[in-house]
């Protein structure tokens, strides 16, 4: 039973990985990665890592992939020409090098002669990998990595906002859209600092807005 499940899940995971690499349309690549992640979660379950499997499905296949889909939709999932620059010779060389990397990794792991390699692993209690055990470890032995991870997530969230924000304020079009009909009924100084200090001079005409950064390039 375990063997059948392993081969089904491993085939799904490898097929998903091939799909990510081979498919031209980035949108299909993202969908292939979702299938790959779900198969990988099944493999994690076979290894008694229940909490990690659930976290994988919720965090990766749920949240991160939604982020990817949004960005693919924003950038525009145009099919990428795999084309003219990488010739057939380069592709053959890439395939050969990839095969050599696989053999190298297999030797590094399988040939290491570790004692448990040909067994099913150590004897573990049924609660191995349950949320209870992982949570207890995260709050006792591994509390420092846990806190650092939280801080890292905060930094990444702030960095993403800073990177993706619109620079140079609102564009002229959006500035115009903010005026309503009420603006024509009141003098320009209403609601300004000048009114607050009792200075009733007319405000000078505002200079023309600077061209937005998006319109340059």
């Amino acid at each position: 039973m375990g063997a059948v499940l392993f081969f089904v899940a491993a085939t799904g995971a490898v097929a998903g990985a091939i799909g990510v690499v081979v498919l031209r349309n980035p949108f299909y690549s993202v969908l292939a990665l979702v299938g790959h992640l779900l198969s990988l979660a099944a493999l994690f379950l076979l290894l008694h890592a229940e909490f990690v499997a659930v976290a994988q499905v919720i965090v990766y296949a749920g949240a991160v992939m939604v982020l990817y889909v949004f960005v693919v939709a924003y950038v525009g999932g145009q099919a990428e020409p795999l084309g003219p620059r990488a010739g057939h010779g380069l592709k053959a060389a890439a395939a050969v090098l990839g095969g050599m990397l696989f053999i190298l990794l297999s030797i590094a792991t399988l040939g290491s002669g570790l004692g448990f390699m040909d067994t099913r692993g150590a004897v573990v209690p049924p609660s191995f990998g349950s949320p209870t055990e992982i949570g207890a470890l995260l709050l006792t032995k591994f509390v420092l990595p846990f806190e650092i991870a939280a801080f890292l997530l905060l930094i990444a969230a702030v960095a993403a906002v800073v990177l993706a924000r619109r620079r140079g304020g609102l564009s002229a079009v959006e500035e115009q859209a903010r005026y309503s009909a009420m603006d024509m009924l009141r003098p320009t100084y209403t609601g300004t600092m000048a009114e607050a200090v009792g200075d009733r001079r007319e405000l000078p005409k505002s200079p023309p807005p600077e061209p937005d950064e998006d319109d340059r390039s």
Binding site: F6, L43, L82, T109, L110, I134
Partner: protein, 99 residues
Amino acid sequence: MDVGWFLAASALIFTLGAAGVLTRRSPLVILLCVELMLNAANLSLIAFARMHGNHDGQIFALIVMVVAACEVTVGLGVIVAMQRRRLPIDVDEMQELRG
């Protein structure tokens, strides 16, 4: 199943991810392939945790997932910024910093 089979699957997935990073040109797909490599490393870590019968590898895999989420967030932010500045979404075209 023997632990060795999981390690072989992990090596295969890692190889596919590395090949994708080296051959694809769209930064979006390159990020996806980096995810593949991180996931292959996660599978190895969890297989080793099962092999030794303690939880350290699983905690390590969770931390790797956090780092991967951060990497995706920042990478996608960079791609959105590239799109805003009308830069080509192609890693071969982005060579301003090449020495």
